[in-house]
């Protein structure tokens, strides 16, 4: 497995000279083998210049050629070695099982977009025939299609080293839309990034595409990351990360000479409503399933169930008691990076110090690189009075909000920030209440789910992984599922064009 620490630009690679860094082993904080060189502003300029030059050619590739390119990337990633999995395990602390599954999910995602490209559906081609004889004015001939928005900057996530990273959802959607991609590799898994980046670079070469279609940069400084968002040749940004990071990019993008869209997935606490009949009849199973979802992958999911909403009563008491019991048995788990572990402890400690929240259970003790699961509870009135209680704690921490009655439950829902998901646990007797709440849930989250948890985002055409601010910067869009392609398209109309001047994709 080749691991040079180099930048991937223009179909070649070279060592970046703006500082260097090593990958950190998540479980120990020690340095892993290999040194990665940071991109200079000149490297960035070269990458976006090549991307801009590649754009007019790449966006006019035939649908079959573009689909084959995505499938070639998928094939090369599917053929990566077990050595890669071992490296990614070290870089992220994630398990072999999880990473093998995630790699396959990434492969399937690329294949799904290849099918979407083949279908041509995303072009939304329209053809309004002209009528030169119409009075009082001739009717023009109008043809319509979506074209790629331009080169896209992709900032991968720490928590999905394959599926939301170098060849993840945003890259797949942008390439499918006809947009060159410049990736800023996440510094938490630079070795993984290099291997995957080289797969894309190889696919570009084997498919005979312009070298500017893909580039990957390393950097540890904000300067280069921000310059990428500010670069005039970049026309959209895909980002998955912290709220502060997303807001900073939104601000830079809005202040550009030509503002551009930023699709930032930022923070979400993914409320779980347990309705009265579900609590009454099934508190035990739901509580166990909840703890399972909460602690999976050390809770490091954007869709982690960070909030439980329910109406007071014996059912809720029993649910809480069971959840506490299961949480107390949970073993600690390695977190993605030492910084994430630190931030988690800080978030938990802030809520622990809040007199209106009560810590009611915690998992087994952790070391400094691990996550110790924890459960809090509070009253709805206190929750609504303190906005900080909606802060995401990225890890296996959750807060139960006790509501006095239905109207207080509704008040809490109205008070919530935008979310990626809201889950509703319900049994037959809960239908009327669920239907009453539905309109409120729809305006608050991008995905609503019944009797499940938001974790485990299915890669499927009907998926929505997005939601109202601040869960994302732009609730009109999704980062998973084929509808993600619309992020990176814009419409163009061709009036009275002779057919030999029209672009081939419109003929």
């Amino acid at each position: 497995m080749l691991l040079t620490g180099e930048l991937l630009i223009g179909g070649k690679s070279h060592m970046g000279t703006a500082g260097s860094f090593e990958a950190i082993e998540a479980a120990t904080g020690g340095k892993l083998k290999g040194s990665f060189g940071g991109a200079t502003l000149d490297d960035l300029d070269e990458a976006t210049k090549l991307a801009w030059a590649a754009f007019p050619i790449y966006r006019e590739t035939g649908l079959e050629q573009r689909a084959a390119f995505l499938e070639k990337i998928a094939e090369l990633i599917a053929n990566t070695s077990d050595e890669l999995i071992v490296r990614t395990m070290a870089e992220t602390g994630l398990s072999r099982l999880r990473l093998e599954g995630e790699r396959m999910r990434t492969v399937n995602q690329l294949k799904m977009f290849a099918e979407e490209v083949r279908s041509g559906r995303f072009l939304d081609r329209r053809d309004d025939k002209g009528d030169p004889t119409r009075v009082p004015l001739p009717k023009p001939d109008l043809k319509f299609r979506n074209i790629g928005i331009g080169p896209v900057a992709v900032f991968g996530a720490s928590n999905f080293p394959f599926a939301f990273s170098v060849a993840g959802g945003d890259t797949a959607a942008a390439l499918a839309a006809g947009c060159p991609v410049v990736v800023k590799a996440h510094s938490a898994h630079p070795g993984t990034s290099e291997v995957i980046g080289r797969c894309i670079q190889q696919a570009v070469r084997e498919c005979g595409l312009p070298v500017g279609v893909f580039a990957m940069l390393h950097t540890t400084t904000r300067e280069v990351a921000q310059a990428l968002v500010a670069d005039a040749r970049i026309r959209a940004v895909g980002f998955t990360g912290s709220r502060s990071g997303g807001l900073a990019f939104m601000e830079i993008a809005a202040k550009r000479k030509q503002p551009i869209p930023v699709y930032a997935e930022m923070s979400s606490i993914n409320p779980v409503l347990v309705l009265p009949e579900a609590l009454r009849s099934d508190w035990e199973a739901i509580a166990s399933a909840f703890v399972g979802a909460l602690t999976m992958g050390a809770g490091q999911f954007c869709t982690n169930p960070g909030l439980i909403l329910a109406i007071e009563g014996k059912g809720l008491d029993a649910f809480i008691e069971k959840a506490c019991e299961v949480i107390s048995t949970q073993a600690p788990q390695t977190m993605l990076t030492p910084d994430i572990a630190k931030a988690y402890r800080k978030g938990v400690s802030a809520l622990s110090g809040n007199s209106k929240a009560k810590k009611i259970a915690e998992g087994q003790k952790s070391n400094e690189f691990q996550c110790q699961a924890v459960l809090f509870e509070t009253r709805a009135s206190d929750f609504m009075a303190d906005h900080a209680m909606q802060d995401e704690m990225f890890g296996s921490a959750s807060l139960v909000v006790r509501c006095k009655d239905k109207s207080e439950l509704i008040a809490v829902l109205e008070h919530l920030e935008g979310q990626l998901t809201i889950a509703v646990h319900m049994r037959d007797g809960d239908n009327a209440l669920a239907k009453e709440l539905l309109p409120l849930l729809e305006v608050t989250a991008g995905r609503l789910l019944v009797n499940g948890f938001g974790t485990g985002v299915e890669v499927s055409p009907a998926m929505v992984h997005g939601g109202p601010f601040p869960s994302t910067s732009d609730g009109r869009s999704t980062s998973v599922g084929t509808a993600a392609i619309y992020r990176f398209l814009r419409p163009v109309c061709y009036q009275n064009f002779a057919s030999d001047v029209l672009p081939a994709l419109l003929k």
Copy 2:
């Protein structure tokens, strides 16, 4: 014809108490009959509160019911009196012929959106069947649809008192998408606005819809307009107007607790390329047609041809000579408002005072309320050295840019800001050049047209009236044509819902 000067809120009307104003006769600057009362912040709050309350009900109206509502508005507008046309002529200075046509266009636009609603296409319903037997994990059942984004604030344009105003494109698209609308009526045609607003109000009543589906406010202060954009219950903004106005709204929207999309159509100079063979063989006809497009409606179109780009030579000289000759015969025309006439003179005077631009023709003398046509010329190198030469002069003013050769023409195109339209005049021998330029034109404008001018925006499904910044705030979208409905939608996914809990529109 009822004209009370009242605000239309909650299915009722009352006189606004935050100041009052009269409509101004465009041709004379005199006051027209009737006084209009400005909305207080309480009026605004009532309007958005009712809109928010109406939203969950209105967005779930059946497609047939929603289509019938749009058709009812269309019918009521089609039946407005000739007295309305007379009033609108006085308020705007536009001709009877133009206004009768524009009213019909507005009616047809509403009918087009009714058909789009009936088709259900915009819902983009998706249904990925679940598979509980899949291993290692069951496949969830996923259903997808687009829903209205929420109440929309619409700011009408001065230059289209029907088609881009109270019941114009943004209102039609938002209502079609399932969003209640709060209109800020343009103070240049408040009487027209009231009549049209009452048609919508009547349609809401006759169709049995919640009263909050529509409201219309008057105001002459920035405070109320800005408060409307900042209102937490407003979830998108449609605006047609000046660049400074659009930028101000973009800034307010971005700084909200929950940022929202602003669709602002701002400024565009709509370059017209006249290619060498067209110049050689047809300079005379193209020059005459150009002046016709330039002076139509006193040049007060967002798609007015404000820039001519061509390569030096005898053809261009002859074209310019002819254009100058025709311009010098043009009679002055009344502008929409005294302020617009003043701003036009200021813009023309700024370019006249620019030593690098030469005034080469002007139309017949105008009074202070009128537009005098004017043509300037400059060299490509001077144009590129002075960004102010790209400033829109809203009226019948245009600038010819003389390019030395093809590469200078390309350099000018690369230097251009985003545009609504680019027109290419070409004859057979120009095909190769047109194809070479096409990729550059596509990234610069939303609509490209051959052998015509951008004025006369066809209301048709394949139309794109939008373009890269600063022609609009968001080049991913159009304000004319059925694709405009996507401005006001967002996707929601329903996972593992029993069918009796699903919204009716998804069943």
